[in-house]
Symmetry: D2
Subunit: 363 residues, 4 copies
């Protein structure tokens, strides 16, 4: 930690900071420049509280040297974390790009099974679908809850696809973990520390979405919360941040993809559906994410987006998803990776369409 | 709701939107312009899902007309909500400006009682202090929990000041409500809907802090969540939003103060401590907030800021707080309001200081 | 400057950085910690290029210690700069709060003179009005240019009010300086360095508006550009920054007011008209700005806002402005300052209104 | 245009809005709902001033239906604009991905020629290099100006590469256009309308960089300024926007790439050097940009980044650039496009390195 003293600092004030450093078991390095005296704290600075030191008289500012997270850092673990999903061959964080697809919300048994079959046929690895839905407005549909979880389990049985679904409250963690293969923490709950603790204390893998105004460092610290409770199977998901731009719902932080891959060993997924909020942009941003180094993408897919109860505007139809898959495959190969070995080109889009009367993607 | 169709829309697509409006029990108004056909949905548009309509073919964009919140709106209730705090004379939202003051975190019995006495002597109305602390890093002090609540109760007994403290988890709501007079929902939990529901289902007043990247509309929708569960005693707190500016910890959205007073009947408090993150800016921003129409301010105050376990850099000393109070009073009077009738000018700052060896505010 | 080396740094890489520091005429301080080696550069670090050093192998990050501006800093000049406006008694930056008022754009001779008389009667110190208008769209009215300047001069003659108006291009600086008493640099041009140079090389005072995404440091560096060319009469204007919030046009950064007053000796004005974009919020934010320490406010005022050619939605009527003035006075007095000695309470709003048929402010 | 009236609107206020619409030559559509009366203006709404209408009594808000730009819109011109660069085979906006590479600033003749030869050998299409440099601080190097332009011309002669360089002031447009093949407008000048006019009135192609806080709509309106003055050869460049994230210098708005390709016919380039500010992220973001649909990328490349006078931290070495090229080619092919037909794989990186003693990219 570097402590910059004010121009008019007194010797007593310097000594007070030095004593504080000593008392914390660290060593100091005092550098008296022409314009400023600077004090370095040598050792594991995480034992010092920057804000208290900033409150000391004579202190102008305090700058941290080390990242405040440890378990999540690539410095601690240079090799990638690869997370094997229970009861399946799916590995998140390995060479294969992982495709998570499904509706925003589980609506009924027929819907979720039909979508699960559709996305599986097109090459998806994991089925997504919300049973507990956080909704900005109190009068919106907020999920089928336990019934939704059971329907996801049925879709899993029908297709073999592992299931990812969101959990909103520490009390529901046990229940959701019974039915889901991956627990999702939504962007609004990224700093719900009671919830992070609860998912950190159980065994199922957790996908943590970045808060919409969270820095990369705060994102890794939220992951550190989960890791520090003993669960090392954490997947990170960049889902767009909030900026001044309003044409799109969020702004996908594409820089964060290689930045996270550099800073941490945890797998990184991108969610272009929430990241853009606009169906016409989803495919291209998904392709961009894979080229930029993402380990997978999460996509909202529905048999009939306009009948989707939630987030229809950003949801791909099964046909659009099926048309996207070969593109994702080509980009994955361009960066030395692969998608699901069942080639999506084999998928009979035309037949599917004739039977389902949805229109093709014309984008 | 206004639905703007694409330039190349077909009659069938228009009819499909019109049918959807009819099916929801609303009437339509179709306006065929030279460049665009526009469809208005007449009636309570909140029954329509904008995102589903945006997913329909031929639709370019959808624009809401009405605010999505109702109970929180001044249109529903023109007169101000005034919240009487249990077992005290304090009323939030009335003519008197309310001053909430105290440490970021409760540290021990002596500390909280000493601070409570100090801020009371200087004219504070309500004691703040955290027993459950949300912390960005997993290795930081996260509060004394139940012990902290008990110490707050002791400080309340010692001074008569009502107590506000944060609750982090639905499971803790009952416990916190036993000890606190106002339950605080922190910025990170503004959209923790399970928690909003829990505080909405009990009777104690709730102070809801604005999420650091939440719009005014989302803020009011979060309040609506609480109101819709039956608790109408909701206080709003602007605590700074996250912007590109990094010199300050957050950016106090001063525009939001008159905007909220215009849109809602709920009281509005400003927190300049978190809103600036810098002690030297707190006083002036507190004064600005009152001039802009806030119903009160919340301030972090400690007997010894540099020994504060949390947020020392933004914490005022008792002396600084005591010197600020007459300024707040003068500004309050300039806008036709008052602060606590016990005049803070009477407070014997010099004696206090001699006994406590803290330094004066030189700002 | 502090240079943090990577964990796996070599002795050669450290030496390379040390040599670079030596070659720039500075001294080094090398601190070898357990986790990182840190190198301090002692002396005037502004001679070093942080980005080049960051490009060196073995370097993890570079942190500046000193503010990059000098002439603008309060460290260089502790006392406030007070700017006397040519041919008038107006002093910007002194004890008196300065009120700049007038239309967004000059429209015709009658309009500008009528407005000038109105705002003067209500207590304004300086007349604002645009002759050269920067407009986001190419098809919008962009000012009367030279004709507008002449009308401003006529309004000045009719009322004695000094005039502030915007200059958009280095080529126009001489012309605008002939007619105006203060040259305004708009937010979009805050980093138009050719223009900053041109206004820095002439004598008239300059009011520099903060760019809508400019940090406080960049704002002061833009002022430094002007100061460094020899013109020390620079007024800073906080006019709202761009954030994610869309309810208001911009977000007034109230924190920036005391922050700037702390960092620089230059006067600070706030523009609540552009800062909010909404007439109903302007008055309260103006009051908040003065309480927070601003040296003045700039307000858009028009005899008939809905006939204003530009920015009508954020423009006060003369009557609204006249009603605001006593409020500004009361807040100014609460913070130990004053407004124009001609009491605005004396202003005969009723008569004015009867003759001008505008509606009263009902806010 | 849709005008939403307040709940308590009067018939007279409605009529006043209707008259204004009539007077502008448009037709009205009045829809009287239960909660709000809504007035649609039918016809080319660009003749109405939204802000004036918002200033009318009884008006709650005004919503635009049509994009405010015309010439830039894909609605006007469905096919892509392809810009042939003078005296070369380079076409921007066609099937081939365009690679612009070179130093941030021209430093001397030897440097610029050596870099030009290096990037050409590695497959670049266009040489970039700044002669006029906008610098945040007044004490930084701001370019060799005319001497720099001459050196760029020499580099062009030595390699045949077309040259792009920035112009800062309307007065310099003629001079820069003599030497450069593409004129660049920097992010800070995106709304310098005097400069947009000047480049719009000459013939050379213009690359317009997005302002760091400019929305997509404002970006297209700035392009419209240039187009409306007669120059239709405009290239758009996404170079990162300013957000709350500080780990990276800017946030590349990857969503903007497919959004712009959808909204406009103009070519879209991405600048990952400024967009990230970190060398280690540049390559992956460049690959992501091409996958997302960009027509090219602009990269800062230097023979010796740490000796670069400007922006060294985000500058690739020639070797890093040469290693990136085959990756860009593979991604381009994955999306059905190509890079420069001279295969960069042929480039003899090893020999180049031996002769130049720079280190390889280890990222």
């Amino acid at each position: 930690m570097i402590i910059v003293m004010k121009a008019e600092v007194t010797e007593e004030q310097i000594q007070h900071v030095v004593n504080t450093i000593h008392n914390a078991g660290l060593k100091e390095n005092v550098s008296r420049g022409e314009e400023r005296t600077i004090i370095g704290a040598i050792g594991d600075e995480r034992v010092l509280d920057a804000s208290s030191i900033e409150a000391m008289s004579g202190v102008e500012k305090v700058m941290a040297i080390l990242a405040p997270y440890k378990l999540a850092s690539r410095e601690l673990q240079p090799e990638n974390t690869i997370i094997k999903i229970n009861g399946s061959n799916v590995k998140v964080g390995g060479n294969q790009i992982i495709i998570m697809a499904g509706p925003c919300a589980v609506e009924n048994e027929e819907q979720i099974i039909q979508i699960a079959q559709g996305v599986k046929a097109a090459g998806a690895d994991i089925l997504r679908g919300g049973a507990f839905k956080p909704r900005t407005g109190p009068y919106n549909f907020n999920g089928l809850e336990l019934e939704g979880l059971k329907m996801l389990a049925q879709a899993h049985e029908a297709t073999g696809l592992p299931v990812i679904t969101e959990v909103l409250s520490p009390d529901d963690v046990g229940l959701v973990a019974e039915y889901a293969d991956i627990l999702q923490i939504g962007a609004r709950n990224m700093q719900n520390f009671a919830l992070l603790k609860a998912v950190g204390q159980q065994k199922k893998p957790v996908m943590l979405k970045r808060g919409m105004a969270s820095t990369i460092e705060e994102f890794l610290l939220a992951a550190e919360h989960i890791l520090s409770h003993g669960n090392h199977n954490v997947i990170l998901c960049e889902r767009g941040i909030r900026t001044f731009e309003t044409y799109t719902r969020n702004t996908v932080d594409i820089n964060a993809v290689p930045a996270l891959k550099d800073l941490t060993h945890l797998p990184v997924i991108v969610d272009p559906s929430h990241g853009t909020g606009m169906r016409k942009l989803v495919s291209r941003v998904a392709m961009g994410a894979i080229a930029a180094g993402a380990d997978g993408v999460m996509l909202e897919v529905h048999t009939d987006p306009e009948k989707s109860w939630v987030d229809g505007a950003q949801t791909l139809s099964i046909q659009e998803f099926a048309k996207l898959m070969p593109n994702l495959q080509r980009v994955a190969e361009a960066v030395g990776r692969s998608v699901n070995n069942k080639s999506p080109e084999v998928f009979d889009i035309l037949n599917y369409t004739l039977n389902n009367k949805s229109s093709y993607f014309n984008g």
